[in-house]
Amino acid sequence: MQVLSTIAFIFITITSMVNLILREWRINAIALAFQYLAAFVLVTLSWPVGMAVIKLIVGWMATTAIAITSLRHRQNNPTTESVASLLFRGLAGLLVILVIFILAPRLQESIFPALDLVIVQGGLMLLGMSLMQLGTSADPYLNIISLLSLLAGFEIIHAALERSTLLTGMLAVVNLGLALAGVYFISQSDAEDGSKEKAP
């Protein structure tokens, strides 16, 4: 289990870095789906698999909803970005990783002594990376992905603190609600772009 949770943490770090650096919606959606898988592994450290799997299913449902909407509404031409901006986000991501590695053991010691370090690190990694991503993008699709990651990070930590069926159900509603908000925003963006194109 220790090996599995370490692999999950590495997966979380890689997928969140991918989402921070790259701005290609297909890659972002795939990374988010893998992120939920890794988060599920970390949640199983605190919850029975039967309950933890809810988070995985809900996460994948949310990912599917926004990915399908993007498939229908977003244009296929990938955004071209300068190497400098990719480098900047990459360095920012490395900075977040560094901060998390320094901060997590201290936080675990002072606030979450009953939690495994890998849970604290995994949760904080998602929180930190998604906050950084929120700060570097104003695109609705990326913002929704960041918010879903943020909640996933929080849920990894909170699952170890409290186990409640109602809470799990309501967090599932919140995640799906966020995905629906994303669907609405993406389709609205497309509606305006479409109406502009039609205008003479």
Partner: protein
């Protein structure tokens, strides 16, 4: 026959909202059903018997306070009924005017659903789960705040981001607070928990410096929706926040908490007032006015040891009616005029004097003009701050003047003749069904200003929080 209060005030309105949502294209049906349901539930909550038994002829209905859901419960007691009655009544008032062209078609069902969710938030046990109900309400509000067919503006994204950031903070703070109860008050964990909790509420309420979405959302969304949501959600959050003060003794006695709250409150009043005064867009100015109003509520909360909690609750009715009048008149002005920039509304009063007067009176009500509803409460709050001997009261007073200054600027713009129009005489272009609600509301605002004790019933909500009496 046995019913539970959560079924009546949470499940029932959600079902009604779902039905109206299905038939969202039938406007009259939607208005009649949502208004009747909201106002009916408000009336029922007002006259809800203390023994929780309702006798209707041969039918005896006994109410239970709790409804169990997945191992937890929603409990709506007799004590919280005045506030529930209030929020359903204002939702009913807003749905009555939702027929104005341009109002999002989902406004009626979603506003009723949001009211039901916020009611659930007030009664859920453990009370921390309220954060989730509130967040679901926020998510439900998004389709109304982001205009249909338009790209989501940065303001709505900021709103969503900041509200979502609040959720983990509140849940985490709740977990921390349950652990620090047993710790000595000088433990660093106590302060850390309070900071996390404060940040959570700061994000939720748009407290400075997390307020940037307020004017942006206000500028882009429909005035009816903005005025309703920006009153309903923060007011419920403020009442929900009382749970923390009620349950955690160390929060009530936390060193510097009152002074921090009053400083933040005055800062928001001052900045909101100044920003409002210099705006050239009517809708954007309202966003900053909301910031000022949040400041006044925070200020009242900070004066809890002097009776501030009662003042906080007594601020709500006058503010709600002021916001309603603002939303109603702005919606009609936008319908008749299109743009809400100062340049565009120049000379508007010559054509629509009653609408213009209604908007000015709404502004003055919110600003706290003597004789109007909010004045007695704002005067009491500012007097209490001044009596405390700090310079904060003066800054609060200056901030309030900003709202008056904006209203005077607006009046000057409204009556300045428009060069493009040939009209040189006053003409009432409004139809009777447009100006009648304005006249009725102005009358109510004046009556509430003259007899502020009429709204004292709302303060009995405080009996829900025994430690805050």
């Amino acid at each position: 026959m046995t019913l539970s209060t959560p079924i009546l005030w949470v499940v029932f309105p959600l079902i009604i909202a779902a039905v109206v949502l299905i038939f969202h294209n039938r406007m009259i049906f939607g208005i009649v059903v949502t208004s009747t349901a909201a106002l009916g539930l408000a009336l029922l909550a007002t006259f809800f018997p203390e023994d929780q038994t309702l006798v209707l002829g041969s039918l005896v209905v006994t109410f239970e306070e709790s409804l169990a859901i997945l191992g937890r419960s929603i409990t709506l007691t007799y004590n919280i009924m005045p506030f529930i009655s209030f929020i359903f009544a204002i939702t009913g008032l807003w749905t009555l005017i939702s027929g104005i062209p341009g109002t999002p078609k989902f406004f009626r069902p979603i506003s009723l659903a949001i009211t039901a969710l916020l009611t659930a938030a007030l009664g859920v046990e453990p009370f921390l789960y309220a954060a989730l109900f509130i967040h679901i309400a926020v998510l439900a509000s998004l389709p109304m705040l982001s205009p249909e067919g338009k790209k989501p503006h940065p303001g709505i994204l900021r709103y969503l981001i900041l509200q979502t950031l609040a959720l983990p903070l509140i849940l985490l703070a709740g977990w921390l607070l349950s652990g620090v109860e047993a710790l000595p008050s000088d433990s660093p964990l106590v302060v850390q928990s309070a900071i996390i909790l404060g940040l959570g509420f700061g994000f939720w309420l748009g407290v400075f410096p997390f307020h940037s979405w307020l004017p942006m959302v206000s500028q882009h969304a429909h005035p009816t929706v903005v005025s309703h949501l920006m009153f309903l959600i923060p007011s419920t959050i403020f009442v929900f926040s009382l749970n923390f003060f009620d349950r955690y003794t160390f929060l009530r006695t936390l060193h510097n908490l009152e002074s921090t709250l009053s400083f933040l409150g005055v800062l928001m009043i001052f900045l909101g007032g100044i920003w409002t005064a210099i705006q050239d867009n009517l809708k954007r100015a309202f966003g900053f006015t909301i910031l000022t109003e949040m400041g006044f509520t925070l200020l009242a909360l900070s004066l809890s040891s002097q009776g501030g909690l009662s003042w906080m609750l007594m601020l709500f009715p006058g503010r709600a009616l002021g916001f309603w009048l603002w939303g109603y008149t702005m919606s009609l002005i936008e319908k008749h005029n299109g743009s809400m920039e100062f340049k565009a509304v120049q000379g508007f009063a010559w054509r629509y004097p009653l609408l213009s007067s209604g908007l000015l009176l709404a502004q003055l009500t919110i600003a706290g003009l003597p004789l109007l509803a909010v004045f007695p409460i704002k005067l009491t709050i500012l007097t209490a701050v001044l009596r405390n001997g700090t310079p904060l009261g003066i800054w609060g007073f200056i901030g309030s003047l900003g709202l008056f200054l904006f209203t005077i600027r607006l009046l000057a713009v409204f009556i300045k003749p428009n060069n493009t129009s040939n009209r040189k005489t006053w003409a009432v272009s409004e139809k009777t069904h447009e100006y009648l609600p304005i006249l009725i509301m102005v009358l109510i605002l004046v009556i509430l200003g003259l007899f502020p004790n009429m709204i004292e019933n709302l303060t009995s909500t405080l009996t829900t929080f025994p430690q805050l009496q």
